[in-house]
Amino acid sequence: MSSTSMSSTPMSRTDGAVPILAARGLSKAHGETRALRGASVELYAGEILAVTGASGSGKSTLLHCLAGMVRPDEGSVVYAGQRLDRLPEARLSELRRTEFGVVFQFGQLIPELTALDNTSLPLLLAGASRKAAHEQAGEWLERFGVRGQEGLRPGEMSGGQAQRVALARALVTGPKVVFADEPTGALDSLASEQVMTALAHTARETGTAVLLITHDAQVAAYADREVWLRDGAVSADAVALEATR
């Protein structure tokens, strides 16, 4: 075991690197339920960061705030120098389309579209021609090992195949950050391994930062760092939070 492996996971890096995405003091309530209570987290270019925690700890709300899908009640989200929480909706929407990719537990592929059309969609929305979009989408499907499944609709694919198509769709535009919310939550261990290996390899090859939400330590082990969320607050260590209950 390396000497560094014995140290606890740092909350942020100490090498002076500037995070590509940084949240400070995020709070968010859904009605009476306070999902986030002063959560802070930093994501650096090219790293895979696992956010782990029990069900209901606020993981998904944190992802939604970081990806600009939900505005926090308090706190700031800074992406590449811009305050996401203050951007107008149109600009946010454009950012989400061009700079961010998102994968959910259930890939949320469009059931009526084939794997190729699902993967092409972000490119078509960005103005690419159908031919160019299909060509590029095909390359990404190949990269994720689902070449040959282009004509299948989500209902005709296994869970693992559908999730790899969802990954291809999330990465097809060359985003700077991919948000993955329990991407293997509905998969068996073998399919989970295939999806995570594909995601980790591709992210490292392309230098894409990944914010990986998971409650599974074996999935978190694909990440470079791990932070733990409990009752809406972030800690560098699970046990530290549990021990202070």
Binding site: M1, S5, V239, A243
Partner: protein, 221 residues
Amino acid sequence: MSTRHILLGLLAGGPSHGYDLKRRHDERFPQARPLAYGQVYTTLQRLVRDGLAEVDGTDSDGGPERTLYRSTAEGAKELAGWAAEITPPAPFVTNEIFAKVVCAILAAAGPTPTPGPASTPVRISTADPASSADPDPDPVPMPVPAADPVPAADPARYLIAQRAAHMARMRELTAVKTAPGADLATVLSADYALNHLDADLRWMTTTAARLTTLTAEVDPT
């Protein structure tokens, strides 16, 4: 782990010499502690003594002469029996992490130990160390440095550090099994360790959440 049975398994495919058995063991069981040559030869001698293997001549293959061993019919029977034998599922729960947590609670609850001297008083002889004929009759006693305070046992802190070490090891094993070209034996052996470490992690998180109750149970005072 039964080295004698593993060697019998490796000999099942045909005669082999000690060096080759060691090499094949380390290939077949990646991530396992490599077999020591001494252990291989000692085990082979015991197998011969017990009639489970026998010498099958020598093989030089251009290098130094090596003794070839092969399994006997008795050895094959022994191997088949071992391979079919159910491994007792956790007959005793020996959990070092739990033992440390409990002992840390006991230590934290006990009286604070009085710091003794850090070590035997340091004395420095003024005599020439090279001259044994004239030993210094009265070494000058040096001041005894103040002993470091006895560190307080802290089960929560221990669990934090242990969890970080487990997670770091899981990251290493994940990198090993997902490296391009990793063979199936490597993947399966890493998976075995990952699943066990994962179970430990879940246990540690649950234990940390129950430390207050455990402390009250271990030390009712």
